[in-house]
């Protein structure tokens, strides 16, 4: 099978598929799917250029989901053999039967065609989990030493997460999909202490996590040495910077910060399972309820947001989702109006939508697939569009916000607060030094309504995270968000020292 890791590809998939799905059909299951996965995760952490910890972890397991007795049942195990496959089907059917006793709705899944036997591999060159540990320690050690050697830097932490995911999926419809993808998350953070005032500041690299191979660390998609070389000076400037005057400012938000605001205020708010109340006990619901589809004014007319599971290097990009639905692109917000949701097959059926747009994902073979986020991205200005510098030039008094840090949003995705890595004061179209202690706070629709200008394609960046949490038991999902720089008018800025009563 092209792409799959050798040991994984050697598993007896056809026999396991028969053992599970034929058994499920015989037990009268309306739907059934089998997912077998191998997830290799490597992490390396250095503190002050010395190794603090490194782990190489492999999870191999399989999970079976059925719909029977009008209910869903799921069972998963790390044991992979034919008896275990049949045992999981029996356990999943039993789980459906037991929970169906509580009554309630009969589960329906939106139809999805049989895609036959298909294979998909993400675009990468070097599997990060195949690079020797010593090489990673050496690279992070060199970068840490460079940063630590720079003036004013007192401590440096460095980390690298590399993941390779191999997956086999088969369902009763007939789809058999094998897939392989990788991801990488590098990060360095410098800490500077001002001995006189005993105050300190940190600054982290802005390089986003990506669905790329180890070539990412060698200049494909990011210039790490250049970024690391900038940090000490920026950090020293931040440590001396004045504390922000709270109030309303025009914000030019860099993609390195805006991706997270998109994630929280648009990505999660347009998940249909949330909007329908299925996450009420945990992740929350959404202000963007389905009765407002096609009518809700989400933001200014400049706002066009898409969901996309196909974009190259996207952390949520796949060929087929974990319900056998082919990856798609779709509109969520068009011209500032809510026009769509992210779906899995159950939520689609609940809303009377004929087909899922392929947003089911499970973070482990031992977890049931739930609706998770597509790469939700903001479209840049048409044509060449303004550069970030041109956006800044158009602002009389404002702040240019760079890099993400702290984030928080309420259970219906109205009220949010974000901080960042760097904040530059904009005075009459010019950068006039950094500010400290900045956070911005807004209500989602007010914020997007204040979107005044979009940057062009040249400002566009695919940001993202590997740790998006949802579901119970909790699952983490990787997801990317593409965005240009953008200008938001008159957003409330807080001073976080004053907020703490100091």
């Amino acid at each position: 099978m092209p792409g799959l890791e050798e040991g994984f590809a050697a598993l007896p998939f056809a026999a396991l598929r028969s053992a599970a799905l034929e058994r499920a059909a015989a037990l009268g299951c309306r739907h059934a799917d089998l997912r077998i996965e191998k997830i290799r995760t490597q992490s390396v952490v250095l503190r002050d250029a010395r190794l603090e910890g490194a782990v190489d972890d492999v999870t191999v397991g399989m999970g079976v989901r059925v719909v029977r007795h009008g209910a869903i049942g799921f069972a998963g195990s790390v044991e992979i053999n034919l008896d275990a496959a049949a045992g999981l089907v029996a356990a999943a059917v039993e789980a459906a039967k037991v929970t169906a006793r509580a009554g309630g709705e009969a589960v329906e899944l939106a139809d999805e065609p049989d895609h036959g036997t298909v294979a998909w591999t993400a675009p990468y060159r070097i599997d990060p989990t195949e690079v020797p540990l010593g090489e990673k320690i050496a690279l992070l050690g060199d970068w840490s030493a460079d940063l630590l050697g720079a003036r004013g830097v007192d401590h440096v932490t460095a980390s690298l997460l590399g993941v390779a995911e191999d997956k086999y999926f088969a369902n009763l419809e007939g789809t058999v999909a094998t897939q392989r993808r990788v991801r990488l998350q590098p990060s360095l953070e410098a800490l500077a202490v001002d001995e006189d005032s005993s105050s300190f500041e940190t600054m982290r690299t802005l390089a986003p996590p990506v669905g790329r191979g180890y070539e990412y660390l060698d200049g494909e998609g990011w210039d790490f040495p250049a970024e690391i070389a900038m940090i000490s000076e920026l950090l020293a400037e931040k440590l001396r910077a004045p504390s922000v005057e709270p109030g309303r400012y025009d914000l030019v938000i860099d993609p390195t910060n805006l991706w997270l605001t998109i994630h929280e205020s648009v990505g999660h708010a347009t998940e249909l399972d949330r909007a329908l109340g299925y996450e009420a006990a945990y992740a929350g619901t959404s202000f963007a309820t389905i009765d407002q589809l096609g009518r809700l004014r989400y933001g200014s007319e400049l706002m066009n947001v898409t969901g996309d599971r196909t974009v190259p290097y996207g952390l949520a990009s796949v060929g087929y989702d974990d319900e056998g639905v082919a990856a798609q692109q779709f509109d969520l917000v068009s011209g500032g109006v809510l026009v769509g949701y992210q779906l899995d097959r159950r939520a689609a059926a609940l809303a009377g939508i004929t087909r899922s747009n392929g947003c089911a994902f499970a973070d482990s073979p031992l977890n049931i697939a739930v609706q998770r986020m597509a790469n939700v991205s903001l479209r840049p200005a048409a044509g060449p569009g303004p550069t970030t510098a041109e956006l800044i030039e158009s602002v009389e008094r404002g702040i240019y916000v760079v890099g993400d840090k702290s984030w928080s949003i309420d259970m219906q995705r109205y009220n949010f607060q974000f901080s960042g890595q760097r904040f530059f004061f904009i005075d009459h179209g010019r950068i006039a030094g950094q500010l400290r202690d900045v956070a911005y706070q807004a209500t989602t629709t007010d914020f997007w309504g204040a979107l005044a200008r979009l940057g062009g394609e040249s400002t566009y960046l695919l940001g993202g995270a590997c740790n998006c949490g949802k579901g119970q038991p909790g699952q983490v999902a990787p997801v990317s968000h593409g965005t240009p720089s953008a200008l938001f008018a008159q957003i409330r800025v807080l001073n976080t020292r004053k907020e703490s009563g100091r």
């Binding site: 190794l51 972890d57 790390v78 044991e79 053999n81 929970t99 800490l191 928080s408 976080t496 009563g501």
Partner: protein, 466 residues
């Protein structure tokens, strides 16, 4: 009650012995974790997803002496069929590594006579009574225009730890929780209740549902309040949310490096400093009744204050804060030697007590002239590490208290507040009860906290969420 194929995996103690026997390293540690769990979710008055899972994780730590120092390497896998291969992978990771900054001699740990015992398991049967009660609860909620959502989870985790220094330790960790959210059908009001428990014998859905109905009753009168500093009453569950943040930040090395709320300038910590006016005690104890947790170190990887070299060392009771003063921070052995302080591993429970506090949460309400009674907190994130300023939101029920009585429900707020400052501004505490942090219980299930009445809690803005 759940059908389960008989496990074809070799017994965990056997895996430990096989891995130790295969090792060619200077020393080695093998950790096998057998996890059996079951869960049920529900929402919109219907059950939704569920799961019955069987997990086994094997981690091999190899220590390799070299002229420049001891190196460590970790390889971990779920149910590896090739144990010798995993051992070889950890040895090659050690060879590929550099001398460990946290190196310490591996100590012989004791031998548990129950080491050979099989792992404990659980299944959906543990929720039998709960599932029996859910159907009628859904029916009643539908009839009364309420919508129930929630989650029940139960896990049995059996840890086997073997070391070439001679230790053979076993620990069984039960972890369970039930959460229930009730919303009015029009979505105008909601409330939450949760309970952490090692088993479901004492858990009553009806009791949680009754408390939620009482709170939804309070919400029949609705008031709007603006941002500002309010006196608040935090129930034990919300106190757990905040105190766990104080615990997460309690790394000795990070405090010394500068930059945490426990830093007292470069190289110095605030240990010994009085932090709160009231004589609070914050502590952990693996033997705390109802909150029992592993009494020895289990570390499948090293971090800033946890070391693979400390595997198997005993964890005793510890006061992090005593008489309102900071008394201890976390260090692994190498870190403790470096800083000339006491080795202090983390423990998997956390308790906060105020000596003499014996009243109930209702008594805190009765003593309040004007204030806000909260239900729980949500989406808590660190804004400023140096003050441990946190932001987050109130969720699923904020109630106005006037003259010692709840007079109605108010809107939700975003807060910006440091838990240490909040503890310092505490006026009164109730007795300490088992608490479930809504935000963190998946990582920190075992907490016991008092309710707290706190002055001038900073509600930074209003959240329209309901």
């Amino acid at each position: 009650m759940t059908a389960r194929a008989a496990s074809g995996l070799p017994a965990a103690p056997q895996v430990v012995e096989e891995a130790l026997a295969a090792s060619r390293a200077t020393a080695s540690v093998v950790i096998v974790e057998e996890v059996s769990d079951a869960n049920v979710r529900f929402a919109n008055n219907t059950t939704t997803t569920n799961g019955v899972r069987r997990d086994r994780r094997v981690a091999v730590v190899s220590f390799a002496d070299s002229p420049s120092g001891m190196r460590a390497g970790v390889a971990a896998a779920s149910a590896p069929s090739d144990v010798a291969g995993l051992v070889a992978a950890s040895e090659s990771a050690a060879a590929d590594s550099e001398p460990a900054a946290d190196a310490s001699p591996l100590e012989p740990a004791g031998s548990d006579p129950a080491f050979e015992a099989p792992p404990e398991t659980t299944d959906l049967g543990v929720f039998a009574a709960l599932l029996d009660d859910l159907g009628p609860a859904f029916a009643a909620a539908r009839a009364e225009q309420r919508v129930l959502a929630g989650f029940a989870t139960h896990e049995m985790r059996t840890t086997y730890l073997g070391s070439s220094a001679g230790g053979r330790l076993r620990h069984v960790q039960p972890t369970g929780a039930l959460e229930l959210v009730a919303r009015t059908a029009d979505g105008s009001a909601s409330s939450w209740a949760g309970i952490g428990t090692p088993d479901f014998a004492e858990v009553s859905l009806a009791a949680l549902d009754e408390e939620l109905q009482r709170r939804l009753g309070w919400a029949e009168r609705r008031l709007e309040l603006g941002p500002g500093r309010y006196e608040v009453i935090l129930p034990p569950d919300a106190v757990a949310d905040l105190m766990l943040e104080l615990d997460f930040a309690a790394s000795g090395r990070e405090a010394e490096d500068g930059g945490t709320v426990y830093s007292a300038g470069p190289g110095r910590t605030r240990v010994g400093e009085r932090l709160t006016k009231l004589p609070f005690a914050m502590w952990s104890d693996p033997a705390a009744a109802g909150l029992e947790c592993a009494p020895f170190v289990v570390a499948a990887s090293s971090s800033v204050d946890t070391s693979v070299f400390d595997n198997g060392l005993p964890i005793g009771a510890v006061h992090w804060m005593k008489d309102g003063a900071l008394s201890r921070l976390r260090y692994h052995r190498a870190g403790a030697r470096r800083s000339a302080v006491t080795f202090q591993p983390a423990a998997d429970n956390l308790l906060l007590t105020l000596p003499g506090a014996a009243g109930s949460l209702d008594e805190l309400v009765a003593h309040t002239g004007r204030g806000l009674l909260l239900t729980c907190l949500w989406y808590i994130r660190e804004v400023d590490r140096s003050t441990l300023l946190l932001t987050g939101l109130t969720r699923d029920g904020v109630y106005l208290v006037e003259g010692g009585e709840v007079v109605g429900a108010v809107n939700n707020f975003r807060f910006n507040e440091s838990p240490l400052d909040a503890l310092g501004r505490t006026i009164e505490a109730s007795r300490t009860d088992r608490a479930l942090s809504r935000e963190w219980h998946e990582w920190a299930n075992r907490t016991a906290m008092p309710g707290l009445r706190i002055a001038e809690f900073n509600m930074s803005s209003v959240s329209p969420a309901s």
